[in-house]
Structure formats: C-alpha cells, structure tokens
C-alpha cells in the first residue's frame, strides 16, 4: 500500500466467482454443454424458452455442486429450491433466469489460502454461499456496421453455473489471486469444473473498496464491482488499479460509502484501467419468487456423506503425500498436482512402476508435459501407458539405458508402438557384449595415451571424453559400462 505513510489504509475485497460445472448436458435440458459449437446448434425448446416447455433438473449438476461445496468447507442444507430472477434481455429467452434466492445449495464455508509471503500466516477466507443457476446466452454486438446489429447465440443458455460468493475477507490483490488459485485448483482437481477463463467456464467479479483512517476517523470508500476480467492477472491488475483510483478519488472528493451507492466498472486489459459501466446501481428489483415448474430438492445427510466419501484427497493432501511417498520436492509436487487428478495418477503409476519417484518426476515435468502440450494431448490420449513408461525409466535407473538413449526410445514409443522392448529392438539397441566393449575401449585407450596419463595423474574426469567417442563408434555402448571398462583397463595396463 503506497499511501500508508499518510493514512492507514486497508483494502477490502470480496469475490463472486462463477464456475461452470463439468456436466455433459445443460442444467434443465438434454442439450450439450460443449464449448465452441456453431451458434444456436446446441438448443432445444427448453433452453430456448419456448411456450409450454418445462425444465427438469440435471442430477449430475446437483452432485457436482455438493462436491464443490464440500471442497470449500460449505455446509449442505437439507433442502434447496429454485427461484426465478426476472429481467428482460435478449440473451435471456424466458425473461427470467432460474437461480436460487434464499435457499442456496451450499451455505457458509471457507477456504484456506497459502501464505502470500514468507511472513504472512495462512489465511482463512469466509464463503457466504454457493448457489446453482443457469447461464444466459451470448449477445454479439456488431457496432461496426453502425446499425446496432445484434446477434444472439443461445448455445450457452442453460449451462450450469455455481456462483461462489466470498465474504469481503481478502486484503490485497495478491490474496485475491491466491484465493482464485486455490479455488481453481480444488475445482479442477475434483473434476467439478475446467475453470478455463478464456472459455468462460470461470468468471470473476470483484467488489472492492478501502477502509481508511483519517484524522482518527474510520472511513470507507464507496464499493465498486469490477467486471470483465479475463485472467487472474487481470484480476490482480484491476484491483490494484481500483485501489489507487479510489484513494485518489477519496482525496479529491472525500466521498464515502454512505454518500454513494455501489457502482459497476469494467476492466479494460489494453488500457489497464477500469471504466464506468453502471452508475449508482438502481437497486434492481428482480422480483424473485419460487419457480413453480420445479420442485424443491431434499438432500439427505447420507447423500452428502456418500459424496464426501468419493471426494478423495484434496489437492493440499495430495501435495503432502507425493512429497513423502515419492520423495519429490514441494515445487515438483505442486507442478504435478496443478495438472489435475488424471496426471497425478499417471505420475504415480509410473513412479511406482520404476520405483524411482525423482526420476519419474523429472521426466513428467519435462518430457511428458512437453509432449502433452506440443501435441495437445490429454492424459487419457497419451500414447504410452504407465507400466511401459515405468519400465523404460527403470532401465535408466538400472543403467541399462542412458538418458539420451532412453529419450530416443521414448520418442519411438510415442509415434510407433508403446512397448519398451519392441521399441528397443526396432531401434537396434542391443546390449554390447563384454568382449566387444573391451575391444572398443582398448582401441580408444591405445589411440589416446594422453588420457591414460591424465587419469593416472588423478584427473578421473579425463575418461569422460572417451565415453563420447565410444558412443560415436557404437551408439549402443552404455556410458556407465564404457566408463567402468575404461577404468578397469587402465588399471590393468
């Protein structure tokens, strides 16, 4: 906080996060939720709001919502119901959004965020509620034509969203980012959401204001809701910008929360500024009332317990376990955990199969991840299975293959055949016999007397250059074996 020398200033941030649930179909109809289809191809009378069509709740969305609630320590009330939130907009074909007003599916919870800096303690951020609702469609305004021409794509309309509302417990943009990171990690790890901001499956609105102490008086600046932030980085920048703007504005006008109601500002990534979207939020009257087309849902404690039992490890627990069980560093464990559950279990299969967690970890961080990124592969699409990859790494650990040779085998396995042994055979990697190796080494030593001399004078690394030469003459020669043979021969010379 740059202004703390003049007045004591505290930044107050609350986040509203919309998470798109990973269901195959929409919240109240059977239409696909797949991203990126041609406009208005994933629609039916229900999500188009046609006369006479009726909603039916998607049971999977309920399950995922409970899962999400449990992941952020929410209590799950025994009954939840549906309310209509009414307003007119072209991307809302029914003229109302089916949402939850007074009985959300998830009540009161919290999320622990890791310490932002070394001297910060871990912080507990309160969560007010999480409620389930249907998404609206997408309006595309073609302002360039000058005709106010608008097009509407209703593919997204009816997609299940869980809106997670935090208390205003966050105190800096860093904390906001840490909260979002942790939330995203849990939602992706537990298969609740993809949390892709670019695809709109995670959206963030931030409520920001300042608490100041000036001349011994406590003052709060008017609350601003920031929208349109398309990355976590943008959230951080927008909050920082807004903190400075509000401070300057307060110095200029002295306006406090009592004198001005909440305003809505958009974030412009290119200018790096927030801009006014809606002045004085006229307390919009959504005329909420219980949706008579849907029945309230009762959720038994047994059901909640059942879902809790399937949660498995939370990311924090996995992080701990990977470090202990596979003896890898915290940073490496974090990279693996961030890739999600499938990746973690792939890693663990390989680590177990080769019995060398560190080696598996380094291969996963480099070769496996790079391949996945380059070829846009998911874990399930990966051409080599865990057992075979484990076998390959085991051969490296045992010295049967060196790293570079192992990479050749890996590449071959990726494009041809996932079997280690047949790959080794196809590449003509045959183990070199002792006689052959000794002959090769003998020849090298004879033509490099200087190296023999250096070694005898205590420069043990001198034989290193011969290993390279040996590999050139016979690519199958194992460097470790070459080194051992060379030393043995020198000693008996």
């Amino acid at each position: 906080m740059t202004h703390s020398d003049e007045h004591s200033t505290e930044t107050i941030i609350g986040l509203e996060v919309h998470v798109q649930l990973k269901t195959e179909t929409k919240l109240f109809c059977g239409c696909s939720t797949a991203f990126g289809g041609p406009p208005n191809t994933q629609v039916c009378p229900v999500c188009l709001g046609h006369p006479g069509a009726l909603p039916v709740i998607n049971a999977h969305a309920i399950e995922l919502s409970i899962r999400a609630g449990l992941a952020i320590n929410c209590s799950i009330p025994p009954m939840t119901k549906w309310d209509r939130k009414q307003y007119f907009y072209p991307d809302l074909p029914k003229g109302y959004q089916i949402s939850q007003f007074d009985l959300p599916i998830c009540a009161e919870g919290h999320l622990e965020i890791p310490a932002v800096s070394e001297d910060d303690p871990t912080r507990r951020i309160g969560i007010i509620r999480a409620h389930l609702e249907e998404d609206a469609g997408k309006s595309m305004h073609d302002e360039a034509s000058g005709q106010c021409d608008s097009r509407i794509d209703l593919n997204r309309c009816g997609t299940p969203l869980l809106e997670i509302v935090s208390y205003p417990d966050l105190r800096s943009s860093h904390e906001a980012k840490a909260y979002l990171d942790e939330l995203k990690l849990r939602m992706t790890h537990l298969g609740i959401s993809d949390c892709e901001m670019q695809e709109g499956s995670l959206r963030v609105d931030a409520n920001v204001n300042l608490h100041l102490k000036a001349n011994g008086k406590k003052i709060a600046t008017p609350i601003v809701e920031i929208k349109n932030m398309n990355s976590f980085r943008a959230v951080e920048h927008a909050i920082d910008y807004e903190v400075d703007r509000q401070y300057d504005l307060w110095e200029e006008t002295g306006k406090t929360i009592e004198e001005e109601s909440k305003t809505t500002r958009g974030w412009d990534d290119t200018t790096g500024k927030t801009f006014l979207q809606r002045e004085k939020e006229e307390s919009a009257d959504y005329r909420y009332f219980p949706d008579p087309d849907l029945l309230p849902i009762r959720i038994s404690q047994e059901r909640v317990d059942e879902i809790r039992a399937t949660l498995g490890e939370l990311p924090g627990e996995t992080l701990e376990r990977l470090q202990q069980q596979h003896r890898i560093k915290a940073y490496d464990a974090e990279v693996i955990v961030n890739q999600g559950r499938e990746f973690i279990s792939f890693f663990e299969e390989v680590a177990t199969a080769c019995d060398d967690g560190k080696r598996a970890s380094s291969w996963f961080q480099q070769d496996v991840l790079r391949t996945m990124n380059d070829q846009q592969l998911s874990v399930s699409q990966f051409p080599i299975n865990g057992q075979q990859l484990g076998l390959l790494l085991r051969k490296v650990s045992s010295g049967e293959l060196d790293n570079s040779r192992a990479r050749d085998v890996f590449q071959f396995m990726l494009t041809n055949d996932g079997e280690v042994d047949s790959a080794i055979q196809s590449l003509g990697i045959a183990s070199v016999g002792t006689d052959e190796l000794e002959g090769l080494c003998q020849n090298l030593l004879e033509s490099n007397p200087q190296i023999v001399e250096d070694y005898r004078n205590g420069k043990q690394q001198a034989v290193g250059s011969l290993i390279g030469q040996a590999k050139k003459k016979n690519p199958n020669a194992n460097p470790k074996a070459v080194r051992e043979t060379l030393i043995k021969l020198i000693q008996t010379m």
């Binding site: 046609h50 006369p51 006479g52 069509a53 039916v56 072209p90 029914k94 005329r287 009332f289 008579p292």
Partner: protein, 496 residues
C-alpha cells in the same frame, strides 16, 4: 353420432361407418357452425382426413388400433401442436408454430385420435367468457347471444355444437368446469400433476391443468385415461400409475359413499335460484343411490378468489415475460419517436411489441402480478397469498377427513350475455367463485350437466374429490348420469 366417442368406436368396429366418413361429418358440422359459434381458431380438414384414412387402412389390414381410433378430437389452442399454429388466441402468437407436440397431444395421436382443429379461448386463458380472444368471441350453442364461458369456451362449445365428441381444455381457476357448465356438457379438472403440462402454454404454472370435455362422464373417463400419466420432461408430473377410470363407471349404487354438500356456496349471495335447486335435487339423487349426504363448510372460502387473483397473475407475469418479440411471436415493425428517445432501441422494441401483442386483460394481469411480486409489496401480496393458500389446502383436508366428495354448484349463474361483464373485471372474476378452490388445493373436480333454467340455459353442478381420487368423481358422476338425462339434453338447431 358426433356426441359420443363410444358410439363412434362402435360404428367403426361394426363396419357401419369408416373413420373418413366420421371425420368428414365432423368437418361438415364445423363448417356449418363456425360462422355462428366460432369455436375454432384453426381447422385442419385435409390433415384430419388423411389421418382418418390411415386409421381405416390400419383397421382393414388388421393392425392394432389405439383407444380413440378414428374419433375426432379438438384441442384448446393453448396446447402445442406441430401441424397447426398454437396461438393462445393472442395476436402475440398469431402465426406461431410450435416445434413439438404437447404430451397430451402426442398421447392422443398415439391412440389414433384425429385432431380436427384448435379451439378458441380467452387470450392466454385469462378470462371467463372467451371474449378476450384476439380472434373473435365464441358464442354459446344454447343461446348465441350469450357466452360459452371461458377460458376454454371453444373447447366446451365445440362439443355442445356437435362438431366433435371430445375436446381438451385447460383449467387454471375453473376454465374447463365453468364453460362445461355454461354449455351443458361434462368437464373434468384432474389432480394437479396427473396430466402433464409439457406443451401446455403456461398461464399460472402451479394451478394449470389439462382436462377433458365431453357430453358424458363415460367419455370423459376414456379421454382422461388417454392423457394421464407420468411425463419425465415435466418435474411436476406425478410419477405414479393412474387408475383406469373407464373401469369404475357405476350404474346407481353409491352405498357407503359420504357426500358433503357445501351449504355456504348454496347460500352465497347472487347464486341463481335454479342452480341452488339443481344442487339440492342432485343431493337427493345421490341419496337415492344410497350415498349419505351431510352438510359441510370450507371456512376460508371467501378468501379463495382474492388469493387466486394474486397467485395466478404473479405467475403469469413471469411466464409471459418470454413474449418479448426477440425470439418468436409478434415483434413491432418500427419503433421511433418519443418511445425510442426515452427508452432506447431495446426497451422500446420490448415495450411496443408487448403493447401491441397483448390484449387488455392480459396486460391487466401482468401489471397486477408484477406489482404483487415487487420488492416491498411481495410480502403483502404474493407471500401473503401463499400463506392463505396453505389455509385453503387445510380447509379441504379437514373436509375430506369427514366426507368422500364435496357437492356444490359449478358457477353462481348460468351463461351471461356477451359483453355484459367485459368492462367489469371484478364481476367477471366472480364466475370463478366455486371453482378456484380445487386449483389452489390441487385436487380433482368435475362439472356435470344438471338441467336447464327457465330460459333454457344449462346448469352445472360440481363434485370435488381429494387429490388423486378422480375415480371417485367418475364413480359418482356416472351414477348421477345413469339416474338422470341432463347430459342427454342438446341445444336446438344442431344435428348430432
């Protein structure tokens, strides 16, 4: 012939008439009466005859036939059909073609019924006289200067004018039973959830229910059997096997049945004396069949209509938000001037499209409902009405702990002259006095023809039963019709 589904089925089975002959007869009868009665918003002669040919071919080749094979049926224009427009008698949906069939329509087609047309109604089912239709009033076949009732006025008049033996209406506050009473036919509102609302254009979702209209309880039972049952696409549809109503038809033995006669309704102000007398006579008939008759009260009955006129418009104001001109239905061609300047292009288009597309009564109810749900007023109106609705349910629970059925009038008066109440909404709302209770409580109720008054206008009596007990209504109703001939009375000038 066109006044009995069972007769039509018999004629076809015996080879005395083909489905095509029957449908042609129905079409002729529609053509002969439409100018005078205007029961239909759409008649689909060509398709109906083609469908009838299919039935005849099926019959000749010995293929299995549905329960209503070759029977002409009309459906209220609030039920979605893929082959005829679904207008709700509103300019808003004047040319709207639904992309799917309502569940009840699908079930009719599955039983080989022939859909001959869609029937006129009050706009979006809001009204009690079919006078708020954007496509002209429907006239009562018994007296063409009077209303057939509403909102399913066309659905009752199309049966009473001998064009079809069966029709489907919808009942939100009495919209099947009241026109059935005014037109001298039988009409049933099933238990809420018994018949799926999928494809029934919503007026007030927690009250709406599709139901049959026919001359006799027997035909009503057959049609109810066809349309009832669970629909997974409708969350409020009851997931349980409905009983076969056609198999509970009774002759005249009602021993062991206890019927409560609603004394307060009989003594209410403004009830036509002939209607009062008909209810008393009906009680006597039931007594003769061995039923026990006791007097009974519904203590909160004075609150039923006010409660209904808060809840129904509230839900309607929300349900009708979708008609904004953006996606389908009427959109105002040109928005300009002050409206554009003051609201901007989007809100101005909404405003003008809705102003042009909706009629006065619909606008009135949207306004009432929007107000009742508004912040600061919801507790006073909508939430208060929900509380009273719970009291109403307990009224019925208490009554049904003492008796098996409730007997009373369907309406306070017989059919009133066209135009009489159009400018007096409060007077119009009173036609629902005895019918809204069943909707608010979600229970089944039937209106039975009970004779004519001195002006020759039909009178209806109402039986109400506990939830899911349609069979009791059919049981007692069929006994009543076995012992009386009121359901056999026909208006003049119609050949049946």
């Amino acid at each position: 012939m066109l006044d009995s589904a069972s007769e039509i089925l018999r004629l076809q089975a015996s080879g005395e008439a083909s489905a095509v002959e029957i449908i042609k007869r129905s079409i002729e009868q529609i053509e002969a009466s439409q100018d005078k009665i205007n029961a239909y918003t759409c008649v689909n002669a060509e398709l109906a005859i083609r469908d009838a040919e299919t039935v005849d071919v099926k019959r000749k080749s010995g293929q299995p036939l549905g329960k209503l094979a070759g029977v002409p049926v009309a459906v209220k224009d609030i039920l979605c059909t893929t082959d005829m427009p679904t207008t709700c008698s509103s300019k808003m949906l004047e040319n709207f073609m639904a992309p799917y069939d309502a569940t009840v329509v699908r079930r009719l087609r599955e039983e080989d019924a022939i859909l001959v047309g869609k029937t006129n109604m009050d706009e979006f089912a809001m009204g009690g006289s079919t006078e708020t239709s954007a496509f002209g009033v429907t006239r009562n076949p018994w007296d063409n200067n009077r209303t057939p009732g509403g909102s399913s006025g066309g659905a009752a008049a199309c049966v009473a004018s001998g064009t079809v033996p069966l029709s489907l209406g919808s009942d939100t506050g009495g919209s099947i039973r009241q026109p059935a009473a005014f037109c001298g036919v039988t009409g049933l509102k099933p238990t809420y959830g018994r018949v799926s609302r999928y494809g029934l254009v919503a007026f007030a979702s927690s009250l709406d229910q599709v139901g049959p209209i026919a001359w006799s309880v027997e035909d009503v039972a057959v049609l109810t059997d066809v349309i009832s049952g669970f629909e997974p696409r409708d969350s409020t549809s009851l997931n349980q096997e409905p009983p076969c109503l056609s198999s509970v038809l009774q002759s005249n033995d009602l021993r062991g049945l206890k019927i409560g006669i609603l004394e307060d309704a009989l003594n209410s102000e403004g009830i036509e004396p002939s209607i009062r007398q008909s209810v008393i006579d009906a009680a006597e008939t039931f007594k003769q069949a061995g039923a026990e008759i006791v007097e009974i009260q519904l203590p909160h009955s004075e609150h039923y209509v006010p409660t209904y006129y808060v809840i129904a418009p509230s839900e309607a104001s929300s349900n009708l938000s979708r008609y904004d001109g953006a996606h389908y239905g009427h959109r105002s061609a040109k928005v300009d001037g002050d409206l554009l300047a003051s609201l901007g292009p989007l809100a101005a288009t909404y405003c003008k499209s809705r102003s042009e597309g909706f009629g006065t009564e619909v606008k009135r109810r949207i306004m009432i409902g929007t107000y009742a749900l508004s912040e600061g007023y919801a507790d006073q109106y909508y939430n208060q009405a929900l509380k009273v609705r719970r009291l109403i349910k307990s009224d019925y629970d208490a009554a049904f702990s003492q008796v098996d059925l409730l007997l009373g009038p369907t309406t306070p008066t017989t059919a009133f002259p066209l135009g009489e109440r159009l400018d007096n909404p409060l007077q119009m709302y009173l036609v629902d006095l005895f019918t809204v209770g069943a909707n608010l409580a979600g229970i089944p109720a039937i209106s039975l023809p009970a004779g004519l008054n001195s002006s020759g206008l039909p009178i209806g009596i109402q039986l109400q039963a506990p939830a899911l007990q349609e069979s009791r209504l059919i049981f007692a109703g069929s006994a009543y019709q076995a012992m009386t001939d009121f359901h056999k009375l026909r208006p003049d000038n119609f050949s049946f």
